[in-house]
């Protein structure tokens, strides 16, 4: 962060952890209260202790090819601007004027030399976010106002193979430490091909009236729902039901620091749901090259039945190539930002087929996703009932299936029909809510069941 001359952020004192979290979330026993999906006080703590602390996905580098290219997104409920700089680096600023807090950029994307607040004309350079001037600047000069201390507030930024993450927490670990060994698995999506990956143009935004954790948890490790929830979509797209995941010969769930990936080794199980033979063919032809690049094992994952969440709210489906943020908007609502990721060197017609295939399957008009939204909304809404919240939900599937002798990175569990990743996700969630600072967050790796 260059602009450390700025008036420092005066964070409010950390609120004490809620007293009943161990009762609401007991991952040793695999038990969870629906109160965590409904409660306003818990949500306020999540904004403070999870979204203002963790590394959050903000953009793919391919969305900002030229200097001055920008996009707007949010980190939790904090609105931010992501801007490509003259030196090719990417900076992330609060999209809020340091004068009265008004939003300084209202477009979702574009190219600009600067951003001017509509209220009192404070103007900021796109390069560096410095305060350049304002309406009636002379009166500021007369009051000895120091412009250099009032630029756009800048976040810490770090990238992993095209994915740009940011955090406003100065005590957060590095992105590398934050992601840990999960990057080995992320490479399956991001680095299967020479040239890496890119986002296709456009972003589909929609809302679901559900708690953000339900969506994140669904992608962190719930393929169990696939064969049941998505039966109708599978029949529509493939002419038959979803593959019987329980009978696949080799599959795993892996997690680390609350991130999770569940996967089969069936190469094209997810990709096949797009109903585009050319995509399956593309992956099969590419696979030997992936094996040279990433090894035989990971080459079997490039379009396999699988899903991934980077804690807390960034998810993707290899094969369908849909990428998400689940933006929290109160305890009972999310905004979904949906993109499509492809190999940069893939032929244009293959990219187009993925764009349309992701739309057909996992998007607000996708035949698979329609049944998800309904489930997620009612998992949230039933929790408004007090007695319903007393009911301990079962998150215990796959207890005692840890593979301690596995050579795979991370916490490795047998089989993808397993709630170990959900348990790791909620454990991390609780640990962050209970920890006064990053230094207090316990390391659970190696001990989770």
């Amino acid at each position: 962060m260059d602009n450390n001359k700025h008036i420092p952020l005066r964070t409010l004192e950390s609120t004490p952890a809620l007293g009943n979290l161990d009762r609401l979330c007991d991952m040793q026993e695999g038990r969870l209260s629906g109160k965590v999906f409904w409660d306003e006080a818990i949500y306020e703590q999540e904004l403070e202790k999870i979204f203002a602390r963790c590394w959050l996905f903000v953009a793919h580098e391919s969305q900002l090819p030229r200097s001055g290219d920008y996009l707007t997104t949010s980190m939790g409920e904090d609105e931010v601007l992501v801007v490509r700089q003259k030196d090719a680096s990417i900076k992330v600023f609060l999209n809020a004027c340091p004068h009265r807090g008004n939003k300084v950029c209202f477009a979702e994307a574009g190219n600009a030399r600067g951003f001017i607040c509509n209220y009192h004309g404070w103007s900021f350079g796109a390069d560096g976010g410095r305060l350049m001037g304002m309406h009636e600047s002379k009166c500021y000069e007369e009051s000895q106002f120091d412009k250099s201390r009032h630029g756009l507030r800048e976040a810490r930024v770090a990238s992993y193979k095209g994915l740009v993450f940011a955090t406003f927490a100065s005590d957060a670990p590095t992105l590398e430490e934050y992601l840990g060994p999960m990057t080995w698995y992320m490479d399956v999506m991001l680095d299967m091909d020479e040239g890496g990956s890119e986002f296709l143009g456009g972003c589909i935004r929609s809302t679901i009236e559900c708690n953000w954790k339900i969506a994140a948890e669904n992608f962190v490790g719930d393929i169990l729902h696939g064969g049941w929830t998505h039966d109708s979509a599978a029949k529509a797209m493939l002419g038959g039901p979803v593959a019987n995941v329980g009978e696949l010969p080799e599959s795993y769930s892996v997690n680390w620091n609350g991130h999770g990936y569940e996967f089969a080794t069936d190469v094209v199980g997810n990709a096949a749901t797009l109903g585009e033979k050319d995509i399956n063919k593309y992956l099969h032809v590419l696979r030997p090259k992936v094996a040279e690049r990433l090894g035989e094992f990971r080459s079997k994952l490039i379009g396999a039945i699988s899903s991934f969440t980077v804690f807390p709210n960034f998810s993707f489906l290899p094969g369908q190539n849909t990428v998400r943020i689940w933006q929290p908007r109160g305890p009972h609502k999310i905004e979904l930002f949906t993109w499509v990721i492809v190999n940069k060197n893939a032929p244009q017609d293959i990219k187009d087929k993925w764009r349309r295939g992701a739309m057909m399957t996992f998007s607000p008009t996708g035949v698979f996703e329609m049944d998800d939204g309904e489930n997620w909304e009612y998992c949230t809404k039933t929790s408004r009932g007090v007695v319903t919240r007393y009911q301990d939900l079962y998150v215990g599937l796959g207890m005692h299936t840890r593979l301690d002798d596995s050579e795979l990175p991370g916490n490795v569990f047998k089989g993808q029909l397993n709630e170990c990743n959900a348990r790791a996700f909620y454990q991390r969630w609780k640990d962050l809510l209970q920890a006064p600072t990053w230094a207090d967050v316990p390391d659970r790796n190696g001990t989770l069941r």
Binding site: A107, L200, G201, I204, M359, P364, T365
Partner: protein, 176 residues
């Protein structure tokens, strides 16, 4: 929506026929007559509803692009797959059914680019309700090309534009 300075008028009878087509289509959708609806489409249909991008006026990229992400970018194969899902007994989120009203108005009919084709502009309001209290409302503009084929008038192209850069509901489980 494109503003055509040289919109060529058609006869009142022809205009009336296109209007009837659009109104009947709305009734078919409200009544879940999916197969009849599919029959009203040309085999060569392009059914397109681009995602709307909230960009500045001076941004040459514009509010939508053919090669960007869309809600629908379908041919007949895709539309049939969507209908196939609606008809599955295991389409859990469609039982009890979603109740639909499609209102169609602001219809203007002109001659199309080719003989036997019509260009029709219209507006729609779609109201969906599920369960007891779910209510989702979408309004938008459409630009259609209809074509006289052997079996009668068919929808050849549809472009649907909603004003929303973010869909304020969980899905679009209907056609617009």
């Amino acid at each position: 929506m494109t503003h055509q300075l040289q919109d060529t008028p058609v006869s009142i009878d022809e205009a009336r026929r296109v209007e009837q087509f659009l109104l009947r289509e709305a009734r078919l959708l409200d009544n879940e007559c999916w197969d009849q609806w599919l029959l009203s489409l040309s085999e060569a249909i392009h059914y397109w509803m681009p995602g709307i991008e909230n960009r500045r006026r001076e941004d040459k990229s514009g509010p939508y692009r053919l090669e960007h992400m869309a809600f629908f970018d379908d041919g007949m194969r895709e539309l049939k797959r969507r209908v196939a899902r609606f008809k599955q007994p295991s389409a859990w989120a469609e039982n009890p059914p979603t109740r639909n009203v499609h209102l169609v108005s602001n219809i203007e009919v002109y001659a199309g680019a080719e003989p036997g084709e019509y260009l029709a502009y219209s507006c729609f309001v779609n109201v969906r309700s599920r369960g007891l209290d779910e209510h989702a409302q979408l309004a938008g503009r459409r630009e259609d090309v209809l074509r006289l084929e052997a079996e009668g008038l068919k929808l050849l192209k549809r472009k649907i534009l909603i004003p929303n850069a973010m869909l304020l509901c969980k899905n679009i489980n209907t056609f617009l």
